[in-house]
Subunit: 250 residues, 2 copies
């Protein structure tokens, strides 16, 4: 069994720890965090440490700590493979003998469990001799494992920000409009569901609808008059984006 240490108990770390604890093919031998906070939950179940120097001998160390922390950790004393989970940081930012990346393009929320089986894992190692171990581990967790280099991983992360972070934010604005007007957000659930179902069947430009696509200037102006501040700016720029993509002139 692959012996693993997980460093970090944030959103990604917590999900990884739960997955490793429950996965019969993985031996989670220790967790690390800078502060004791967040580790209490696991104290009775497995060894916890706040010291890098006390890390046990493992095959794989997975670092799920903030990007800014990664270059500050000295892990040169470890003989196992050290990987981070960031979409943007190169493995070269890690101070370790054997380095790599295990990037899950997924959005983790503490309140919601998620099965790793469906989460794509994007792998990279500095030395090809380390790749097999990381690949073997990743396939114990997920059905979808990809080899993705630094340049492509950064682009994938950027795309994920648009699809998830920004997709979520525009739904958030919709939610706020409903709240302010005493409308039940659940009325929009079917259209939200249809939006994402279509994105699984067609490229998004095929499913585009609405006043921006139709060049329906009267409706667009009506909407402008109902919005202000940043919501208005968001409306304007996404209308422009749709019209540039689809060739309708304002």
């Amino acid at each position: 069994m692959i012996k693993v240490c997980v460093l970090g108990v944030g959103k990604v770390g917590i999900h990884l720890i739960h997955e490793c604890i429950n996965n019969p093919f993985v031996d989670l031998i220790q967790i690390y965090n800078r502060s004791v906070k967040g580790m209490e939950l696991f104290k009775e179940m497995l060894p916890c440490t706040q010291s890098i120097l006390e890390l046990k001998k493992a095959d794989l160390y997975i670092i799920a700590l903030p990007d800014s922390i990664l270059p500050t950790l000295d892990l040169n004393h470890l003989n196992g493979l050290v990987v981070h989970t960031s979409g943007t940081v190169p493995y070269a930012s890690l101070k370790a003998k054997k380095r790599g990346v295990l990037y899950p393009p997924q959005s983790f929320t503490k309140e919601k469990k998620i099965s790793f089986k469906q989460i794509p894992l994007c792998l990279e190692t500095e030395f090809s001799t380390d790749y097999d171990l990381l690949d073997e581990f990743a396939r114990k967790l997920s059905r979808v494992v990809y080899k993705v280099d630094q340049a492509k991983r950064q682009k994938l992360h950027l795309a994920a920000v648009f699809a998830n972070n920004f997709g979520n934010r525009v739904m958030g604005i919709a939610y706020e409009i409903c709240q302010e007007n005493d409308l039940d957000f659940s009325i929009l659930q079917p259209i939200i569901q249809e939006t994402f179902l279509k994105a699984q069947i067609f490229p998004p430009h095929v499913s585009q609808t609405g006043p921006a696509l139709r060049g329906d200037e009267k409706t667009i102006q009506k909407h402008f008059s109902q919005l202000k501040g940043t919501d208005l700016e968001v409306y304007k720029i996404l209308t422009k984006s749709i019209q540039e993509k689809h060739g309708t002139e304002l």
Copy 2:
């Protein structure tokens, strides 16, 4: 059985016609369109007309024509209830004796069938005596029927534009980033699915993640450098929107 005429064979019209044909509780007696195009498909199945004056006697006339056309139609000779399907236009724009609205906040694509059972239908009539007929019809089609007045319907439509049109567009930008970098868009399907699943469980602000939320200025700057034109503007304004909502300062 409620006798119905559908006017218009665009995205909404086509879906309504199919629904009425297949619904055992509705008697679709005629369809109308300004041009013969789009009606050929139904020619053998039911009466089609290009003349408003040739409209048959029905209980309900549903107009699924562009917003700009609605005020130009003279339907004063009809004795049945005349409703449009627009999210923005008031029923008062219709020239008819009995007027109302049947607004489905849903995005219709010709290529994809959809069951009306899950589509919310938002109803309004000028005279309360006409409401029962519209309500009875709507409940033959859908499980979710709401009474929604003009002011609220406009807000709902605005919210739907954010959730669907803009949600779809940011997924479109993600798709384009993948295409340009030879990345399979399917790698993002799990995160897209999770985005919308979460929106069904939590208010969107609870599920917000990403560099904008974390105030991760280094990643944000890296992303800026990888984008240009309108995509960059979309990134900037949605980052600002997230940070204003969540109180992180740029």
